[in-house]
Symmetry: C2
Subunit: 340 residues, 2 copies
DNA sequence: CTGAAAGCGCTTACAG
DNA sequence: CTGAAAGCGCTTACAG
């Protein structure tokens, strides 16, 4: 069952060029000939090999996605949307896990050199300007999700603003002592969310207090895990006096945090980040990111770039949205400042 | 920046054979020559093209994974483990979403014909014996996760037993009127879990009551969604008298179900299925499936098969384990039969 | 240790 | 409408 185009050509009594034309649906082929070829191919279970086609055409019909973190819910939802978009287009999707253990730049560069794909999707990957320049030199379509660079198409969300909105919400509801449950300090989105939190405090003349910013000790997956949220919230709950509210950097962390609250019997209002599907079901108030749309958009622009190599880079920034559910409900008991 | 082996050979003043040897680390090359080639390659940003290598070697160093459902938590955890395993091995991972809208068999067959990969991972895909026979004819390494067939390596979990254990747990704790929150009736795991539920009832002389088996109306992703669990639990909570307990077919559904309980103010003990990471944090009693292990095991055996094509198919069945947390706590008020 | 040459399985002008 | 031939960018015996 491993036939080549030669076997089919022989069996059908035609040349390989004709077989090729039949499968490529380009060039004129007599109907009778076509049927004959197709019949033989079907019987022998033949289809052109992807690798041979890729080499001959200099086009692989394949896109490659780089992700720093597998089995992360954000990534999972992005993946779903990309795959939905790709299925129609007849592109293959390869996923490469960029591990933090080795040099991130080198890993990506290696893949670009090998030319596995026609285009590349960078998810939540951050590089220095000079590194981006190097990627540019490869002269290959690249789309960036969850980061921005002027050399490439990018799709992102205004993290700073989302976090600002969450913090402002609590302030407007009378809270002044607001904790921030953060994640890995080196992560760009984490930094932006911290920045938004700080800016809100500043705008409302509330002093920034470092001791109100906590993170878990478990820093795997940049600290975006249930366990990290659990650990971080434990620290927050030990604070004295207890903060009046908490702005959390991700839904998954918030789920860990909720467990910490349940266990300790103490509860503070919380708004998290992402709006994963699950957030609605556990009653999480959160900052909505249009993850599905982001994946679709990035995939579309990547394919567009593959088909129009000279198109200019386009930046798309989505606006976050505050979604209020149960978890942010303000408990008067905690609101010392308001009672005064 | 698109150099070929010829460019490097020219620039280094050697033949392409030598360049090839340097990159393949096979065959003797004088140290000085090697250094020269490497220097030139580095300067020109050269690395052999994956597709040309694949064709020449008749080996792609790539494995392809077929999944019926993207953005499903089970799949996400499997994916994480496969990727972890693959990274060491220097294999590329391609993911193909098999959509239920078209013929599943045809989609898979098409990919096998194209020979994109050296081996294939079938995740939660079910075929008839004659269809499996056809796949066998392709004479290509295949590993099956979450299903079983004697022609191929397979890794699965005893679904029937897991569901039996959950049901038995409630029975032993005095429940007799036990609901089952099920999913898509055509899904094999769903059927097995229903079977385990029924067998437990039978063994303890409890009549099977169809009206106690409910599912949501939303059947996307085989009904393994929060919304489907939410809908199904609503129906269960309308039952009169209220069931004493509920055996649920997945953690994600259970999270939807918990919302339904909270909203209605009625609560029944529940045990779900999977033991996703999140289950621990929302306090879900559940049947543990060693998802991570399954992915690793399947990947290992696939690679083993790629390297030893004549090895015999091996079947691995993992045993489920009951993990008791809060959600199954038995509320005496509901236990009419026990009070009597 | 190194090179010339055939071959991997296709596509695609170019002729006819 | 169809075929002969070159070419895609590598690897790998085979000689030397």
């Amino acid at each position: 069952m491993a036939n080549t185009i030669y076997d089919i050509a022989n069996a059908a009594g035609v040349s390989i060029a004709t077989v090729s034309r039949v499968f490529n649906k380009k060039g004129r082929v007599k109907n009778e000939t076509r049927r004959k070829v197709l019949a033989v191919a079907d019987e022998l279970g033949y289809h052109p090999q992807a690798f041979a086609q890729g080499l001959a055409r200099k086009k692989k019909n394949s896109i490659m996605m780089f992700v720093p973190i597998m089995s992360n819910h954000f990534f999972m939802e992005v993946l779903g949307s990309i795959q939905d978009k790709l299925t129609d287009q007849n592109f293959e999707l390869s996923i490469v896990h960029i591990t933090p253990d080795e040099d991130v730049f080198t890993q990506v560069e290696y893949q670009l050199k090998r030319q596995w794909a026609d285009g590349y999707l960078f998810v939540s990957l951050h590089f220095s300007p000079s590194q981006w320049e190097v990627f540019k030199k490869f002269d290959v379509p690249i789309s960036v999700i969850d980061d921005y660079n002027h050399l490439f198409d990018s799709v992102s969300v205004d993290n700073e603003k989302g976090s600002f909105m969450a913090t402002e919400y609590f302030i407007k509801n009378g809270c002044r002592r607001i904790a921030h449950l953060s994640a890995h300090p080196d992560s760009i989105p984490v930094q932006e969310r911290l920045k938004g939190y700080k800016r809100a405090l500043l705008e409302y003349n509330i002093g920034f207090d470092t001791s109100l910013v906590k993170r878990g000790d478990n820093m795997s997956r940049d600290g975006f895990t249930e366990s990290s949220g659990y650990q971080g919230m434990k620290k927050i709950l030990e604070l004295d006096p207890l903060p009046e509210a908490c702005v959390c950097s991700s839904d998954i962390k918030a789920i860990g945090a909720m467990k910490a609250m349940r266990e300790s019997g103490r509860h503070i209002p919380m708004i998290s980040y992402d709006n994963l599907t699950i957030a609605e079901y556990v009653g999480l108030s959160t900052v909505h990111q249009p993850i599905y749309k982001m994946g679709v958009k990035a995939t579309e622009s990547l394919i567009h770039k593959i088909e129009n190599p000279s198109s200019k880079p386009k930046k798309t920034v989505y606006q976050p949205k505050l979604v209020i559910r149960d978890s942010s409900e303000i408990n008067e008991i905690n609101l010392d400042s308001k009672i005064v």
